[in-house]
């Protein structure tokens, strides 16, 4: 997600509190309910807590770093500026939005990420140490001893040999070391808990039942649930980043330009057919949606006996934010051999925060269960 778009999102939300140097601490005067949800993505880390009046407080951090070798100049720069940094091993790393500011100012080098394709970046040897530092600073200490925490993890993909188990173990260790009672939760199921899809049969409405889709940059996660229980979960690797890469490749354009057009100008329902980049983006968006429906049909076939009513599909994630996404999804469902009767496709009210909020809801349920 580009900075311009992200700023628009931040400004559109109910309330934005922004500080550059003295970052706001979790306000312990506010009465938070125990139970913390964490969405650790390739691009962003989002932590959600809920207050007693039902407000979700999401803490958002851009997951990027700018490395500087230790030198007198670097130390001088960091001392005189207000950049937030961490020193790990033989390097300084400027963190978050400051990393982007600095790389643009210096004009050389590039921003690195502790995560890549949804898991720890194997090409950055300090990735685990850096991520731990950042996670500690974004999440803070547990509100109560052994506070319940849920962190989102992707399901293993159907179209790649990536195994997320190791990544899950590392994150679990991080949170346990911080004093949390931490458990993983499937990313698509977080969308289910936050958006509450319902299944309808005759006059009966069954909550937390239906299909949940989390369309991220690296992956799309999909789950079929019944009364809050996951019946089937899987992920697909070709998602938002794939759309950008292919559109850039096919039009001979820079990826950054493609991303800017995608996030600023693209409407999947009405696009400029004379604009090669927009046309390519629409084609690859349609391919991504068709791929999702293809795998849903294949994976969920045979489960239709367990789901006898009309189901709802709920959708969230940054890649789903292109206008017209849900309309294209509807068209694809209607024209496919879909295994269920779908009565509605609904976009999350807060597509960017649905995963962290869903994880928070699950963590609060864990805490309530423990407290009984």
């Amino acid at each position: 997600m580009s900075d311009d778009i992200l700023d628009d999102i931040l400004n559109d939300t109910v309330k934005v509190e922004k500080k550059t140097k003295a970052v706001e601490k979790i306000d312990h005067q506010v009465e938070y309910l125990p139970g913390c949800g964490v969405d650790i993505g390739t691009s962003n880390i989002v932590v959600a807590r809920r207050t007693k009046d039902g407000t979700f407080v999401n803490r958002f951090h851009r997951n990027m770093l700018y490395p500087l070798d230790i030198s007198e100049e670097a130390m001088d720069l960091l001392e005189k500026s207000s950049y937030l940094y961490v020193k790990v091993g033989e390097k300084y790393f400027v963190v978050g939005e400051d990393a982007l500011t600095l790389v643009n100012a210096i004009g050389k080098g590039e921003v690195v990420r502790p995560m890549q394709d949804g898991i720890l970046n194997p090409s950055l040897k300090e990735s685990a140490e850096l991520l731990f530092y950042i996670i500690k600073a974004v999440i803070g200490d547990p509100l109560v001893k052994g506070e319940s925490l849920r962190f989102s993890v992707p399901a293993n993909p159907v179209d790649s040999s990536i195994n997320n188990k190791f990544h899950e173990m590392i994150l679990g260790n991080f949170f346990k070391k911080m004093g949390y009672d931490a458990k993983p939760v499937n990313e698509a199921m977080c969308i289910c808990y936050d958006c509450n899809p319902v299944m309808k049969e005759d006059d009966t409405v069954t909550p937390l039942s239906g299909i949940s889709m989390s369309c991220g940059g690296g992956m799309t996660n999909i789950a079929l649930s019944y009364k809050g229980l996951a019946l089937q979960e899987f992920s697909i690797t070709k998602s938002g980043d794939y759309i950008d890469e292919q559109a850039a490749l096919m039009t001979g354009s820079k990826k950054s330009k493609v991303i800017k057009i995608k996030e600023k100008n693209l409407d999947l329902n009405k696009f400029d057919i004379g604009d090669r980049i927009q046309s390519a983006l629409v084609v690859y968006y349609c391919e991504m949606i068709d791929r999702m429906i293809h795998y849903v049909s294949n994976k969920f076939k045979g489960l239709d006996s367990e789901i006898s009513g009309d189901v709802e599909i709920v959708v969230a994630g940054g890649t789903s934010m292109a206008p017209g996404f849900c309309d294209k999804l509807k068209e694809a469902v209607v024209s496919s051999d879909f295994p269920f009767s779908v009565y509605r496709i609904r976009h999350s009210e807060t597509p960017f925060y649905s995963v962290s909020q869903g994880a928070c809801i699950r963590a609060q349920a864990d805490y309530n269960k423990k407290s009984k």
């Binding site: 931040l10 109910v14 934005v16 999401n58 260790n173 909550p207 809050g228 009210e349 809801i361 349920a365």
Partner: protein, 111 residues
């Protein structure tokens, strides 16, 4: 099939692969590691019994190995430091409290 002895092409010497590997200073260990890595996910164990190949799944539980590796990656070097205690911007969203409470209640009863 006629007996056929492969002869070197005109202008080329008849050298073994081993000789050519030595001459080119190929890193055998790196090569072996790369090949093993590439095919590891595709290997299945074959038992030859009465000329019938029985393919078996690798049933060994490697989660302990992964757990040990994950523990080892928790090393925090003593020289590490930062100039911040907290990170991130705060964004508040409002939800239907009753619906969220009902969801939490339902999930509290799941295993």
């Amino acid at each position: 099939m006629p007996n056929y002895i492969k002869r070197p092409e005109p202008g080329r010497t008849d050298r073994s692969i081993a000789e050519r590997v030595v001459e080119k200073q190929v890193d055998i260990n790196a090569l072996a590691e790369a090949v093993a890595k590439a095919i590891s996910s595709k290997i299945s164990i074959n038992n030859q019994t009465n000329q019938t190949a029985i393919s078996q799944e690798d049933t060994f539980d490697s989660s302990k190995t992964m757990g040990r590796l994950a523990e080892q990656m928790m090393v925090e070097r003593s020289g590490n430091k930062s100039n911040f205690d907290n990170l991130g911007n705060v964004i508040k969203t409002k939800r239907d409290q009753q619906e969220v409470d009902d969801t939490i209640d339902l999930l509290s009863h799941l295993d």
